[in-house]
C-alpha cells in the first residue's frame, strides 16, 4: 500500500464517511468531535486493507501509526476534560506538545511537498542543459597532498557502531484489543479500581495505545467509569456502578487481593503479535521507546526561522 493510500484509506464510520486524510483535517478544524470517532474501526479498516496485500509496506504502516496515534490522543483529550482546570494555569504537557508538534510537522511537510509539485508544474516549460556543454573545455581536478592518516580515521569511523540510531519503531505491531479487554475485566473482577498508567507502564507505546483503545471500548459499553484529577493526571479506572454489582453476588465482600503475579503488568514479550508476517518483531520494547523519540525542538525552531 502506497503511503498516499493510507491517507486515502476509505472509512465508513458512524460519524464519518470518506478518506482518512479528510477525517484528520475535519478533526483539526473541529468540524467533527473526536469523541464521535471510532478509532478501533479505523484500525480494523487499515488491517483489513493490509491483509489484502501480499507484501507489507513499512512506510504505510509507519505513517498509519503516526496518524492513528495522533487521532487517539485527540480523542483521549476530548474524553477527559477537566472543569476545574484553567487554561492559563496549565503546564505545557509533554504529550500535548508531542502531538501538536507531530501534527504541525506532518501538515507542514505535506504543504511543502504540495508546493514543490505545484512548482514543478509551473516550471515545466523551463528547459536548461543538464551536464556539460558539448564544446566546453575539459576541466581537470587537482588535489593537494593528503595525509594518509585521514584514511585510517575514516575507516575507523565505519568500524564503530553508531549510538542510539534505531528505526525499529517502524516495525508496527498490534496486540489485539481483546487481550486488554480481558485483562482489564479480570482486574476489575478482583479490584474495585486500578490506575491505568501503573497497569500499562511496562508496555511499549504501541501496546499502551492498544490498551487505551480497550479502555475506551469498556467505557463505551458502560462497564467501567473513568476519572482523572486534572488533564494528564493518572487515569483511574473503576467498575461502573450498574455493571460491577452484577457479576459479584450480593452480600459478598469485595474480591480478595489477587495473587501478585496476576497484578503484574503483562510482560510485553508475552503479548500475542498479530503482525503480518514479514514485519520485524525482534525489536525490544526499549527500542520502541527510543524509536518514538522526537526530533530536537531546535529543529523546529530552525524550520520556523528559515521559512519566516
Amino acid at each position: 500500500m502506497h503511503p498516499t493510500a493510507v491517507r486515502e484509506l476509505e472509512l465508513d464510520l458512524d460519524a464519518f464517511e470518506g478518506p482518512f486524510d479528510l477525517l484528520l483535517t475535519l478533526l483539526l478544524k473541529e468540524a467533527i468531535e473526536p469523541r464521535e470517532v471510532d478509532v478501533a474501526a479505523i484500525v480494523l479498516a487499515f488491517i483489513e486493507r493490509l491483509a489484502e496485500r501480499d507484501e507489507v509496506d513499512l512506510e504505510s504502516c509507519g505513517e498509519f501509526l503516526v496518524l492513528i496515534s495522533a487521532l487517539l490522543e485527540l480523542k483521549a483529550r476530548s474524553l477527559f476534560p477537566d472543569e476545574a482546570a484553567e487554561l492559563d494555569a496549565l503546564e505545557p504537557e509533554e504529550a500535548a506538545e508531542e502531538l501538536a508538534r507531530r501534527l504541525a510537522e506532518y501538515r507542514r511537510m505535506k504543504e511543502a511537498a504540495a508546493w514543490l509539485v505545484q512548482r514543478l508544474a509551473s516550471e515545466h516549460d523551463r528547459w536548461f542543459r543538464l551536464g556539460p556543454a558539448p564544446l566546453a573545455p575539459r576541466a581537470e581536478r587537482r588535489l593537494a597532498a593528503q595525509d594518509a592518516s585521514a584514511l585510517a580515521v575514516a575507516l575507523r569511523g565505519l568500524a564503530v557502531l553508531p549510538p542510539n540510531v534505531s528505526l525499529s519503531h517502524m516495525a508496527l505491531r498490534f496486540p489485539p484489543v481483546s487481550q486488554f479487554l480481558e485483562r482489564f475485566r479480570s482486574l476489575l473482577s478482583r479490584r474495585r479500581r486500578f490506575d491505568f498508567e501503573a497497569e500499562v507502564g511496562g508496555f511499549s507505546r504501541v501496546e499502551q495505545a492498544v490498551a487505551f483503545l480497550a479502555l475506551l471500548e469498556l467505557r463505551k459499553s458502560g462497564e467501567i467509569a473513568l476519572s482523572q484529577a486534572a488533564p494528564f493526571a493518572p487515569i483511574r479506572v473503576s467498575r461502573a456502578s450498574r455493571s460491577w454489582a452484577a457479576p459479584a453476588p450480593a452480600g459478598r465482600s469485595p474480591a480478595p487481593p489477587a495473587p501478585a503475579a496476576a497484578d503484574e503488568p503483562m510482560p510485553s514479550g508475552a503479548v500475542q503479535r498479530t503482525v503480518p508476517s514479514g514485519l520485524d518483531s525482534s525489536a525490544t520494547p526499549q527500542e520502541h521507546e527510543e524509536g518514538l523519540e522526537h526530533p530536537e525542538p531546535e529543529r523546529i525552531l530552525t524550520w520556523t526561522a528559515r521559512s519566516a
Partner: protein, 200 residues
C-alpha cells in the same frame, strides 16, 4: 583601435558582456557574479553592468536563449516559447516519476537541511531510505558530512540542481509554510481549548 567601428566593438563593457555570455554558454551550473568576475578577470560592478546588458538581450519573447537568475547565480536556459520543441527532443530525468515520499523527503531536506535519514524518518514517521537514494541519484540532494560522534549518520542537503529544477533564486525563495495558520504552540493551545469547551 584606430577606426570608429573598432572603438564601438571594443567598448569595454560590451567586450566584457561577450566574455560573460561565452562563460555562461559553456558553464554547466549557474555562475555567481563573483565567479564570473574572477574568470573574466574584471570587477564585480562591471560584471553586473554586463549582466544587465545581457539580461536585456536574452529576454523571454525576444530571444530563444534566456538569461535567468537562479540557484544563486546566472544561467542560460531555453525560452518558454520553445518548450514544446525541447520536450520533443529532450527528457527531464531529474523530476520524472518523483514519488510522493521523495517529494516529502525533498521538502524536509530543503527546509531543515542538512539532515540525516533517521531525522527524516523521524519527521515523516516512515523510513526514508529509498526516497533518499532516489533523490541522491537524481542529483537533487547530496551528502553533506556526517553527524558528530563515532558512527554518525550521513547528512544531506539540497544541491544547486534542486534550486535550478524548481526555478529558485536561492533556498531563501522557498515559501513560508503556514500550517493551517498554526504553529506547534497554537495547535496545542487549540487542543486544550477543545478540552475546556467540552468541560463547560
Amino acid at each position: 583601435m584606430d577606426s570608429p567601428l573598432r572603438l564601438i566593438a571594443s567598448n569595454p563593457v560590451d567586450r566584457l558582456a561577450r566574455t560573460v555570455e561565452a562563460l555562461l554558454v559553456v558553464a554547466s551550473v549557474p555562475l555567481s557574479v563573483g565567479e564570473l568576475a574572477e574568470a573574466a578577470d574584471d570587477d564585480h560592478e562591471r560584471v553586473e553592468t554586463a549582466l544587465a546588458l545581457l539580461h536585456e538581450r536574452y529576454v523571454e519573447g525576444r530571444s530563444g536563449i534566456v538569461l535567468e537568475r537562479v540557484a544563486g547565480g546566472y544561467a542560460f536556459r531555453a525560452s518558454r516559447d520553445a518548450a514544446d520543441a525541447c520536450a520533443r527532443l529532450f527528457e527531464r530525468p531529474v523530476e520524472r516519476g518523483l514519488s510522493q515520499a521523495a517529494l516529502e523527503t525533498l521538502a524536509i531536506v530543503a527546509y531543515l537541511g542538512p539532515c540525516s535519514r533517521p531525522e527524516i524518518a523521524g519527521i515523516r514517521g516512515v523510513a526514508a531510505d529509498s526516497a533518499v537514494a532516489s533523490l541522491v541519484e537524481r542529483g537533487l540532494i547530496a551528502e553533506a558530512g556526517r553527524e558528530l560522534g563515532p558512527g554518525g549518520a550521513v547528512r544531506y542537503r539540497t544541491t544547486p540542481l534542486f534550486e535550478r529544477v524548481f526555478g529558485l533564486e536561492s533556498l531563501a525563495a522557498l515559501p513560508r509554510l503556514d500550517d493551517l495558520g498554526a504553529d506547534a504552540g497554537e495547535l496545542r493551545q487549540r487542543l486544550l481549548e477543545v478540552a475546556s469547551a467540552r468541560a463547560s
